[in-house]
Amino acid sequence: MSIKVNSLSKIYGSQKAVDGISFEVSKGEVLGFLGPNGAGKSTTMKMLTCFIPQSSGKAEVCGFDTTIAPLEVTKRIGYLPESNPLYYDMYVREYLEFVAGLHKLGKITHQRIEEMIEVTGLTAERKKKVGQLSKGYKQRVGLAQAMLHNPEVLILDEPTSGLDPNQLVEIRSLIKQLGKDKTVIFSSHIMQEVQAVADRVIIINKGKIVANDSTENLQSRIGNEIIVTAEFKQSVNRAELGTIKGVKNYEQLKDGKWNFVSEGKSDTREDIFNFAKEKNLTLLSLYKEESSLEDIFKQLTK
């Protein structure tokens, strides 16, 4: 087990930020941390990285207790804090060299820095000061410093905030690629991202874990109806649509485009196709919407 958390709690005054959570992450797993603002995601991560001590409970990273052996833990962790704090008056390379010095990388410093600049796509910006970079590039510097010492465990607090769509895709695939031989925990507000990247999701609300399951399991557990979107070339008579078998409800999105809600968990695509054939309608598109983590999230954190 890479990470072992046992009834971990953090109490600020009278407020329980994290309330007795327990979970385990095995090596090579990518864990998504979901939860509304103030749910305790960042607090949990700060305890795992030895930044703040817990009020009670136990956390182990790679077999080392975070309170007993913080130096051993921090050696093995790469951490990207939520607000991505950086030294704005340092140059990108200078900053990475500083981080390498903290980890005593020694001879491999130069090679690792080159690698990280390459991997995070900072090549064009390498000679700038960190403060001059745009938010997306700052985020990349944050990622580069987290991965520089080749840690076994990566803890990324909202790694994709502030990135443009292209960068989003790049960073997500990077996280996924890293997850092959590293343990990754990342938090996010974006459900599709967790769906796309994580093997397993922990949903946390008001300091407590409300779900801890693989993404597939979560989807099948919660979804109880299937929504199919169909687009016809011609406009369709509203009343006729009611005759399609297995459709409980339907609504028009725009001219010719309709949403069909299934009765129970049955797939209505075949019936819709047959209906179109029967009525001599041209079907332009037809697809099934997976019940998204978003719905699950809304249900669980209500």
């Binding site: 051993e72 951490y79 704090p85 030294y87 340092m90």
Partner: protein, 243 residues
């Protein structure tokens, strides 16, 4: 610790703070020593560096808190302290790295003043007729004084996220520890009884003692323990932020 030391030192010289601190220190001292008639060696007529060692502590009282005010306050304010604390370095290593970087800057500011010494040495009549021992002792005293002020300044920086607050607190604490005790010892209740004891709590008594050219182990122990105290206070202040 080495990485933090180098980073801090680089930061001093890439952000002008280092240059400005050194230039202001040398400029103010130069003015007092050679230009202003009340304190000028040329007008005074004696081949001593007394005015230098009398004025330098007062410049340090303002200059050193200005150097150290950002050391932790800025890291706390921008959140970069989180990056430092989640690395395989101890809090003490972080503090010492910053401490020695600031101390190095103070040392770099002091070294050029040796020109003043050589000047006085060569204009003395006969040449070389100066109290070398006293001056050397004073230099040690000044260095230790700076070392204590740096520890105070770093401590003040660690208890706030506001650099201005850190600066003002630092100036006050440096001033208090340097001067206040010798004034307090002049209260009537102390005079003739424990005025010497009260005075010896202050920095100035030990600084002046070293200026006589005697490096007494008691003075050295006093300086070193003050430094250790403030470094330990800093550590406590830093860890209490995370509770």
């Amino acid at each position: 610790m080495k990485a933090i030391f180098l980073k801090e030192l680089k930061q001093f010289f890439s952000s002008l703070i280092g240059y400005i601190a050194i230039i202001v220190f040398l400029l103010v001292l130069g003015l007092f020593m050679w230009i202003f008639p009340d304190t000028s060696i040329l007008d005074f007529g004696y081949a001593t560096l007394d005015s230098f060692f009398r004025i330098a502590p007062y410049i340090f009282i303002f200059l050193i808190p200005a150097i150290t005010m950002r050391s932790f306050a800025e890291e706390i304010n921008t959140g970069t302290i989180e990056l430092l604390s989640t690395r395989p370095v101890t809090e003490l290593q972080i503090i010492l790295g910053k401490y020695f970087a600031a101390l190095t800057l103070v040392l770099i500011a002091i070294i050029p003043t040796s020109i003043y010494f050589f000047t006085v040495y060569s204009i003395a009549s006969p040449v070389g007729n100066v109290d070398v021992g006293g001056i050397l002792g004073s230099y040690f005293g000044l260095f230790f004084l700076g070392a204590v002020f740096v520890a105070i300044g770093i401590f003040c920086s660690s208890i706030t996220s506001n650099q201005i607050v850190a600066f003002i607190l630092g100036v006050f604490l440096c001033f208090f520890i340097y001067l206040a005790f010798s004034y307090i010892s002049q209260f009537e209740i102390f005079i003739g009884r424990n005025d010497y004891l009260v005075e010896s709590f202050g920095l100035s008594a030990h600084y002046d003692a070293m200026g006589k050219g005697v490096i007494d182990s008691r003075d050295v122990v006093y300086f070193l323990s003050l430094i250790s105290f403030f470094i330990l206070f800093t550590r406590t202040a830093l860890s209490s932020r995370r509770w």
